[in-house]
């Protein structure tokens, strides 16, 4: 069962995200002025970079959880559940990054999509982690699935810099980073910077809340599976003429449909 403390923290994260998103909306739509160059379009800056940040944060959490599962000393199925929960939230936010970027790109650059380095990397990232989630849908026992998806998650994360570097060489058109530019002096000022910062915080809260919610669901699913399995084993044990030894082997059912040509 969900512990009381977990529930409280999750509630708090939910309330914090509601409030902070509301503040971001008010500041972003009404309080801050339009930009000199971009006009009203600049308001997307309070959404688009924070959403992209959450996507990277989510993948970072997935990778750390994957490492913790693969490392035998810290091996625990909970890390696996955390990894998948975070990856799912990450995929949603990568999708949102692509959509908000596209909405911004249409008026700013005149096209919905352009073959710029960051856009292409993000699109590939989206597909990479969709693949990770698809791999998780493959039926397997929970330990096997956890090991495989942890490795896949880790490889995907290692692949990101390689993909990024290759695409950067290929093409570059996206504007440079606004806040984390090399000189580390933010290029925006005053209330716009504050709003952007609040945007980052609010979307991080949203991430934490969604992650906890998703983790809870994953945990419950796992429990349901365990209970069902126990029930099935019990039923079979009670059938006449079946010993407990016969039930334990779960053969790989896939072998049957392979052509044997060799």
């Amino acid at each position: 069962m969900e512990s009381k403390r977990y529930k409280r923290v999750r509630r708090a994260a939910g309330i914090a995200s509601l409030l902070s998103v509301a503040v971001t909306v008010i500041l972003g739509l009404w309080v801050t002025p339009p930009d000199v160059v971009q006009g009203q379009l600049v308001r997307l800056i309070y959404v688009h970079p924070p959403v992209a940040w959450v996507a990277y944060l989510a993948y970072g959490v997935t990778s750390i959880a994957s490492i913790l599962y693969l490392w035998k000393r810290t091996r625990n199925l909970r890390w696996d559940l955390l990894a998948v929960s975070s990856a799912e939230v990450g995929v949603i936010f990568t999708g949102l990054t692509l959509i908000t970027g596209s909405i911004w790109g249409r008026p700013a650059w005149g096209v919905w999509w352009t073959w710029d380095a960051r856009l292409t990397t993000t699109a590939l990232l989206f597909v990479l982690y969709l693949g990770y989630l698809a791999l998780r849908r493959v039926p397997a026992d929970s330990h096997q699935r956890a090991v495989r998806s942890a490795i896949a998650g880790l490889i995907a994360f290692i692949d990101v810099p390689i993909v990024h570097q290759s695409v950067v060489w290929w093409r570059t058109l996206h504007q440079g980073a606004t806040v984390l530019n090399p000189s580390l002096s933010p290029k925006i000022h005053g209330e716009m910077a504050t709003t952007l910062l609040i945007g980052f915080i609010s979307f991080t809260f949203v991430y934490i809340w969604m992650l906890m919610q998703r983790y809870q669901i994953a945990d419950l699913e796992q429990r349901v599976l365990d209970v069902e399995l126990e029930q099935l084993i019990k039923e079979r044990r009670n059938e006449p003429g079946v010993g407990s030894s016969q039930i334990e082997s779960t053969e790989d059912v896939d072998n049957a449909d392979q052509p044997s040509k060799v």
Binding site: V138, R148, A152, V163
Partner: protein, 221 residues
């Protein structure tokens, strides 16, 4: 580990020699890919010349999906894969051996395919050293990543549909880098300091290392 790798590679290549799947099925498939690309792009000679390297590597990537799938599938008959483990063959060796066998098959396929590309698309080819080196490292990278992902996806009924989804985005830097370095070579601006070649080397080394380390967990997990 290295001896095991050689043994596994030899075994896989012998199986290929006897079953001739790559020669009879995968190679013709790669050829038909080259031909249908011309349908899609129309036969204006200039376009085809320009995009020839990209189409070539796409054909190789598609063929590699079939190749790595097969490399892993042959261990599933009669639980041959478990047999190897029981014999005490090093899992890292199994990985390297399988990658080597796929590498040899893909490389031979590329040699035939490059002739096809020259005949069908008619690009002017130069800079042979860069061409060969990029092909070697690109193929190594594709084979390593391919065998690793194929094993990850194995044991599932959805494997045939899952593998391309996993492999293509991961291998996309190889596709890009190999295409670009070949374009450099064709354009005559080739040098061995080509950044794309370096990227191919990094990719191949990273995936060979990852595979050797993780393969045992995948097999046993």
């Amino acid at each position: 580990m290295w001896r095991d790798a050689l043994l596994v590679a030899g075994k896989d290549l012998r199986i290929e020699l006897r079953s001739r799947i790559t020669i009879n099925q995968i190679l013709p498939f790669a050829f038909i890919v080259l031909i249908v690309f011309a349908f899609a792009l129309d036969t204006s000679p200039d376009t085809l010349k320009e995009v020839a390297p990209g189409l070539f590597w796409l054909a190789v990537l598609f063929s590699s999906i079939l190749g790595v799938d097969r490399a892993v599938a042959i261990e599933r008959n009669d639980s041959a894969g478990e047999g190897l483990l029981v014999y005490g063959v090093d899992p890292g060796g199994i990985f390297l051996g399988k990658a080597a066998s796929v590498f040899v098959q893909l490389f031979l396929l590329e040699i035939v395919l490059i002739l096809g590309m020259v005949v069908l698309y008619g690009p002017k080819i130069g800079g042979w050293l860069l061409i060969v080196l990029s092909a070697v490292f690109a193929t190594l990278g594709i084979s390593a990543a391919g065998v690793l992902y194929s094993q990850l996806a194995s044991g599932s009924k959805a494997k045939q549909t899952l593998l391309p989804l996993l492999l293509v985005p991961v291998a996309s830097p190889v596709l890009l880098a190999a295409t670009k370095s070949w374009q450099d070579a064709f354009a005559g601006t080739s040098s061995l300091g080509d950044p794309w070649l370096r990227l191919l080397i990094v990719f191949a080394v990273v995936y060979l290392a990852l595979g050797s380390v993780f393969y045992s967990s995948i097999l046993e997990g």
